[in-house]
Structures are given as C-alpha cells and as structure tokens.
Amino acid sequence: MTQVSTGSEADCMEETFHHCCQLLLQQSEQLRDGWSWESVQGSQVGYLKKTVLRSVDINLSSVWDQVGSSSDSGSHSVCHQQQQEKSALVASYDADSIKEDITDDDGGFCAVSKDSRKVLQYEYHILYSCSYSTPVLYFRAFTLEGRSLSLEEVWSSVHPNFRIRLQNSPLNTITQQEHPLLGQPFFMLHPCKTEEFMRPVLQLAQDQNRPVNYVLTWLSVPSLTQQPQAKLMLQFFASHSQVAVPMRKLKKCRAP
C-alpha cells in the first residue's frame, strides 16, 4: 500500500487530483449534475461536493429494528435505539408542549403541505488523501431536520438487492471518521483497495494510448462510490473520455 509519499511526487499527485477535479467540474456544469467545489476558507485546499435528495418509501425505524434483530447489531443496539426513540419522544413532546397563539389563518392560500420526513439528503464529498495518494469518498445521509443517520439507517434506505451486492464487494470497507477539513463525523469508504482496483483500468487506458481522468474513472466505479448516480457517472465517463490528463504524467507520478 502506498504510504505517505514525500516531496514533489506527492505534490504532483495532489496537483493532478485538482486538475482532474477542475475538468470534472466543467463537464458537471454542462450536465448540471450538481458537483461543486468547496474550498476551505483562505486556502487552496478543498473537495468536490454533491448533495442528492431521495424520497424514501420505507419506515426507517421498523426496517432498522429488523436489521437489528436479524443479527446485525442485536439487542444492545436495539435497546440503545429504543432509548433514543424514547428520549426523542419525550423531547418532541417538549417541543410540542410549547403553546402558541399563532393561528393557521392563511385564508386558504396555502396548498396541502407534504410530509417531509420521508425525504433523505445524501451528501458526498471527494477529497484527496495524502496518505493513500488517491481520491477518497466521504458521505453522510441526513433528514430534512439535519439529523445524520447511523450506518444501519443508511443501509436500510438502500435497496436490498443493491445492499447484498455492496456487502459482497471487496471494496466497500466503511469507517466512521471525522471529515479532515470540516471536523464533522462522516462515513468514509476505505481507500486501501483503490490502488488495486484502479491499476488495471489505468493500464488499459495506457495500452490503448487513451487519456484518462483519474478522478472520473474512480467515480465511475459503482462499488467505490455507491451513488444512486453511479450509472450516470459511468455514462458521464463514457461520453467524456476526451477529458485529457496525460496518462504518462499520471503514471510517472504514481511510480513508487
């Protein structure tokens, strides 16, 4: 596994990452698929970001309980969850108990408002990891209230078929980590297999004398990024392989 590389080599990889991101953003802007660059104030450091909303049909808590009792996390976690639910109930009672003289006197101007609790927001960040010399995906999912979901809840919002595929994938090691730039808790797809996966792809591109955008290619691997848009990203990549990062440069930078 690539360890922290020193000096110009590391800088070069990071530069390549930024370059790839810029190209990706240009394409993304044309396609309006929502990737943006978020920079940390007063510095060059930053990350690609995308937020996706999805309606969720399922009742999260009941699915969660099934997951829990079926062996995933079991009694102590379920118990934990029940405590949380209980405290949430108590607390929401607290919020409800606040008496208001505001009336809903809108004279019928207001259309039926929708139940917003069944919508989840998924936030994806792509950062450059100096230790692994690869892009790394950070993600979290949260409700419209801004409450982040536990990994079990995230899993339960994933279609069962897809879940099995992901669990069987050798690339899906997820850990809970502090976002290195924001300091907030995120889930991270562990990058240790990235190099292993990317090598043949890059080799193929080089053999065909075809330029390749490392970040784009990386994004196109569904099991690496697990996005609902994985398919879109694949299309995206297929139609934009002219996005040129000289392969030799990338290769040179990657040599140990």
């Binding site: 409800d96 006197d105 101007f109 259309a111 917003s116 801004g146 990994l151």
Partner: protein, 704 residues
C-alpha cells in the same frame, strides 16, 4: 401524492382560487455543527438578530417537497449561492434559553419582517433586487448539553384581502408553447442570467410571439411593457406540483398589485422549472396560468402576513432535532467502536455474533499486568461491563508494565489499582460501564489472627466476592498467587460461571478455561463418570523447571473432552493451596516475567473467551486440541481449546486438554457439593478457610 388530492380539490370546489405550496425547511447536517461553533465562539450570549442565508432550487424531480435549504455556509450571508439556485435572506434569532425561545413574540417577529418586505416594495428597492422578496426567519435554541436543537422557520408572505381568482387553469408549458417557443424561452432565460451575472433569476418579465421570447428584469417594467392589459411575469419556481406555484410567487403578486394593480387586467404567470435528468435539460414541464389580482386596500398600511412553518404533525409549533448521536463525543465514540466491530463481521466473519461478546459482563480478579491487558483487549471487543477487584495500590514499578496506570498514579502512596483502572477505562472509552472493588480475595493458608473482627471481615469479603461472581457472566482469574484463585474457582464453579484463568511464569504462561460442571440436576450422574485420572502429557510441562513455571494440571491430549469434564487450574495439584508467597524468592512467586508475556497471555485469555462465546454450547463446548489445528474449526473464529500453554523461549504455543480430577480441591463434587444455597456456601467456604488455616484439612482430604 399531495399534488393529486389538492389538484382534485382545486378543480371541483375552489377551482378559481390560487393556492401556493409552502416551503419546507431543509437543513443540512453541517448547519447545526456550524451553529454550534457560532454559538460557542462568536455569539456566546448575544441574542441579537443575525443575517443568514438559504437557497431554493427549481430543478427537483417530481415528488420532492418544495424546500428552502440551509447548509453550513448559511452563516456567511455574503458567500456564494450554489449554481442554479436562488438565494433567500434570513434573520436568525438564537435565544439563550428554552424559555426565551418559547416566549419570543412570533407574531411580532413576523410583522417586523413583513414590514421590511412591504417597505422594500413601496420604496422600489424590491424592483431593483427582487430577491429580497424571498425572506425567512429562523428562531432557534441550541441546548448544547443535550445536543437538542429547537427551531422554527417562518417564510413571510403578504396576503391579499381576498382570494386570487384563476382566469386560466395551470397548464404544463409544453401544452401551451410550441417547441420553438420553449427553445427560445430557454435561450432568453440563459441570456438574462448571463446579463445579470448569475445562474438563476428569481423573477423576470416576459413577452412572446409565435417564434420569439423576450425576457427582462423586473425593474425594466415601464420600458418593457407598452400594453398592460395582459402581462406575463416569470417566477423561478421551486415547486414540483402540477397545479400549484411555490411560495416565492406570493410576494411578487403583492408587489405587482401595489405597483401596477390599477392598470393590470390579467396577469399571466410562468412558473419557471428547469431540471436536468440524465444529462438532458428540460423546461417544458414549467407551469403557465392566468390570474386576476384583487385590489389592495388604498391605505399604505402593511397587509396581513402569514408564514410560520407547521411542524411534522401539521400543527403550528416548533420542531426539535436531537443530534446527540452525531455531536456528543461520547456517543460518537460508541458508534465508531461498534461500527469497527461490525466491519469485522461484515467483511470477514459474517456469522460472528457480536452481541454475545459485547453484552458479556466480565469480572476481573486482579488489576495488575494481566488485568490491565485483559481489560484493554475486552474494550477492543466492545465489551461494556468490566469490573475490577484488587487490593493493591499502584507502585512506581507498575506503569511501565501495566498499561492502565501512569507515573502520577504512584504518587502519595499510590492510588488503588481497582479504582484507578476504572477511571482510566472511562477516559479511554466513556461508554464503558466499569466498577472497582478495593478488596482482598480471601485465601486459605495465610496466617491471620482469629479475632472476631478478622473473621467478620473475611466473611464480608466472601459474601462480596460471591455477590460479584453472581452478577457477572465470565470470571477472569488474573492474580499473582495461586491461593487467591482457589475461592473464586470454587464459587464460580458452583454458580456455573465461565472461568478464564491466566497465569505467568518467567517465560511461560497458561491460559485456560475451567471445566463447566453440568447443572445441579445431572450432577450426580456426571460426578460418577468423571473419575478417570488424567494422563500426564509428554508435550508440555516437562520443559520448564517447577517454581518458575505456572502450576498447571498435567495435561492430556485426549480429544473430544466435553466442557463439563474439563479440569480446572487446581485439578492436578498434589498439594492443596498453601501459602506460596511464604519462604520463596521473588521470581518463584512468578511476579517477574518477560515483559511481553502478560500482553500475550492477557490477549489470549480474552480471545479464547470470545471464541468460546461464539460456540453454540459456550463453556460446555468440546475442547479443541493441537490435533484439531488441521480440522474444520468448531466456531466462526476457530478453535475452542481447554488450555493454551505458551513457551516464549521457543515462541511456541500448545493446546492441551485435560480431564477434571474427581478429588480436586477446587472443582470436585466434594468441594462444590451443597453450596448451591448461597448462604450455606458462604458459611462452608468461610469455615473451610478457617479449617484450612489450622488443620490443613484440604491437603489431607484432597491428597489421599
């Protein structure tokens, strides 16, 4: 979906009345983190209103609620707005107390904000920058002790005194416009955006013919429209309902009525919706309809306004979100630890039953080198209940070998090991449930004076030990004398608790599970069958000199010994426990061993416990031996040996198994018989200790 039901209602009963879809507040997780930072570092006790920023988007797929979104950058009111989104200016009122949150005058806050909108309409400021029509109020209280956030959004909308009549029902644009007109509209909109140096235009004016579409900013009204009998205005519309415009149209219509109401006959409204799916952009699903605006009262008083958001139950009230799970560092530590363990299950050992491990209550008798290392390994496995019993204080030589203690703990005579270990565990992982007992474990053979006070103390200690063993699932014997292991072995045996025993020599160790007697009903049957003496093993004990090696029963390599027939630590003793600390040199007490040994043995004791817990029969599982190394393992984690005996000099471990000795001083029926009644047991044990001290009855009884 709501669009259908409300659409039906509109066409049947109130088909001439325009209704708007209100905003739903949407907060990104980062918003609350940033509010917390602001409160702690900038606002502190300052409750004055703060300028913040949100945005809305007109490109959502059908089915998503109309949202006003605030992300962590909301506090940077001058910062950029996401591409293709419209900004909304907000006022944040963050109160210091829940009471202030409750009692703040919501009506007054709404009126104040509405008045500003009304002033901007009257002064013409809203014509120049119509984005100031979309404002919001956010009232918050952050309980940073519980990480509970109370909040209430308000999206102020000025109201007409009566309903807005629909002249022409909302239609999808592609039913009204030709493909050519739609293409022209899209181009004109993009041109206008470029001219305004933005990627989203909240409001605009519109003129069209069969082939052309012209757009202009709101402020160009007088030059753009020559005839105001029928005008068309465009609104960037975040709503996805097929019969209703979103909230931003409301204040625009008030502005139109105020500025040009008397001249306007019909207003045509384009709800501009602009989405990109699979890389292809479309605006043909935009809505278009015509309304007649009611007149505003002639005086210049601010119209009535509405806008406080309903809570999820549909009632007027605030919301609360509990973020302790993602903000409370202790909760974060717990979920990270759990997740790491689950990863092991997901990735490597799918059938691993983590709950059996995590929920196991462990009693550690001894908080020295072994106790410290056992505790750390248990924590690594996510075990929450860890109890220490030790009567020693921390001395200067301890911290380098006992990883729960530091130099500071040795000062002033040294802290109690049991107590200091608990403190350190809580520092390492606050989710642990740990208790310490600074008490000695009654031992046979140690000379004491037989004062009533001493006897009473001994009895209290025995009772306490018995109670502790009852309350736990696994008992770890980690003391540095063999005598102190005797009483816990007897009590734990009578209570059918799994006993994990670890003992060190200079460069050898033994880690073993004690045989687990069958439940009392079948006791007599098994007692008779257990009488075969254990064979001495060729492979093990011969290599180490007696005295420096831990005393272990001579082992056999018998295979297929079930858990209830396995021996205990004392089974092959030829002598009953005597006073091993008397008349011996330091290294004979086995307190000096190679420094790595305790870590190895402590870790193995825990790993062996975990493997046993994974076996369907637990402590009754047939013992694996070295011979089983090539066979299919009995658990997902591998073998469940009786003993692991390690020889550091050879860097070698062997896995012997041995039968229980029917006359064992600690585990034979004669030593556990009749102790199922707790009180009787206490008395028997106490009296046997007393007997032991004076008459060596056990040495005689056990050895004959």
């Amino acid at each position: 979906m709501a669009s259908d039901t409300s659409g039906a209602a509109t066409s049947s009963v109130a088909d001439l009345k325009l209704q708007f879809a209100p905003f739903s507040s949407a907060l990104e997780a980062g918003f609350w983190h940033q509010l917390t930072q602001k409160k702690l570092n900038d606002y502190r006790l300052d409750e004055s209103p703060k300028c913040i920023k949100g945005y809305y988007y007109n490109g959502d797929p059908v089915g998503l609620p109309t949202r006003l979104t605030l992300e962590f950058s909301a506090f940077d009111a001058d910062g950029p707005t996401p591409a293709h989104c419209c900004p909304a200016i907000g006022t944040l009122y963050n109160t210091n107390t829940l009471d202030a949150f409750k009692t703040s005058d919501k009506k007054a806050l709404l009126e104040k904000e509405s008045k500003e909108i009304w002033d901007d309409i009257q002064s013409g400021a809203a014509l120049k920058d119509p984005s100031i029509l979309s404002r919001f109020i956010l009232l918050t209280f952050a309980d940073l002790k519980k990480y509970h956030f109370y909040y209430w959004f308000c999206f102020p909308a000025l109201c007409f005194p009566e309903a807005i009549k629909i002249i022409q029902q909302p239609s999808v644009l592609e039913q009204v416009f030709s493909a050519k007109q739609i293409a022209a509209l899209q181009e004109a909109y993009d041109d206008l955006a470029i001219k305004r140096e933005t990627s989203a235009v909240p409001y605009f004016l519109m003129k069209y013919t069969d082939d052309t579409v012209q757009l202009a900013p709101l402020g160009d009204w007088d030059t753009f429209f020559t005839d105001t009998k029928k005008v068309t205005v465009g609104v960037y519309d975040p709503c996805t309902l097929s019969q209703h415009p979103g909230w931003p149209l409301r204040n625009l219509l008030i502005l139109l009525a105020y500025q040009w109401g008397s001249k306007l006959d019909t207003v045509e409204v384009l709800c501009f919706r602009d989405r990109t799916l699979q890389g292809s952009r479309s605006i043909q699903h935009s809505l278009i309809f015509q309304v007649k605006l009611p007149e505003l009262p002639n005086n210049s008083a601010c119209p009535k306004s509405v806008g406080w958001e309903k809570n999820p139950k549909g009632a007027m009230g605030p919301r609360m979100v509990n973020l302790s799970e993602c903000m409370d560092p202790k909760r974060l530590a717990e979920s990270s630890v759990d997740l790491n363990l689950k990863l092991m299950r997901w990735r490597l050992v799918p059938s691993l039953d983590l709950d059996k491990v995590v929920s196991t209550k462990c009693l550690l008798l001894g908080a020295g080198t072994l106790g410290c290392n056992v505790a750390r390994t248990l924590m690594g496995w996510g075990v929450r209940h860890i109890t220490f019993v030790d009567n020693a204080n921390i001395s200067y030589s301890n911290p380098v070998r006992q990883p729960l203690y530091e130099f500071e703990d040795c000062l002033g005579g040294g802290k109690s090991k049991a107590m200091a270990a608990v403190d350190r565990l809580n520092k390492i992982f606050p989710g642990v449930i740990s208790k310490g007992y600074n008490m000695s474990i009654p031992m046979p053979g140690h000379p004491v004076s037989f004062s009533p006070a001493t006897q009473a103390q001994a009895q209290r200690d025995v009772e306490q030990l018995e109670k502790l063993i009852s309350e736990h699932d696994v008992v770890f014997l980690l003391m540095d004398t063999r005598e102190s292991r005797w009483l816990p072995t007897v009590i734990a045996g009578s209570k059918r608790k799994l006993v994990m025993n670890a003992a060190l020599g200079f460069d050898t160790f033994v880690v073993m599970r004690h045989g687990l007697k069958q439940p009392p009903v079948s006791q007599n049957v098994s007692a008779g069958a257990d009488s075969s003496p254990s064979c001495s093993s060729a492979s093990s004990s011969s290599s180490t000199p007696a005295g420096s090696a831990p005393s272990v029963p001579a082992s056999s390599l018998f295979s297929n010994i079930p858990g209830h027939k396995l021996g205990c630590y004392f089974c092959n003793d030829v002598v009953a426990p005597g006073d091993s600390t008397r008349d011996r040199t330091l290294d004979q007490q086995c307190t000096v061993s190679r420094p790595g040994l305790a870590m190895i043995a402590g870790a193995l004791a825990v790993e062996m416990m975990v493997s046993i817990l994974q076996h369907s029969e637990g402590g009754y599982a047939v013992a694996s031996s070295s011979d089983d190394r090539m066979n299919e393992p009995p658990t997902s984690l591998g073998l469940v040996p009786h003993q692991i005996r390690g020889f550091l000099a050879r860097f070698d471990n062997v896995l012997p198994a041995s039968l229980a000795f029917d006359k064992c001083t600690a585990c034979s029926p004669t030593s556990t018989n009749g102790r199922s009644e707790p009180q009787v047991a206490v008395w028997l044990v106490v009296s046997s200790i007393v007997n032991c001290w004076s008459t060596n009855v056990y040495e005689q009884g056990g050895g004959k």
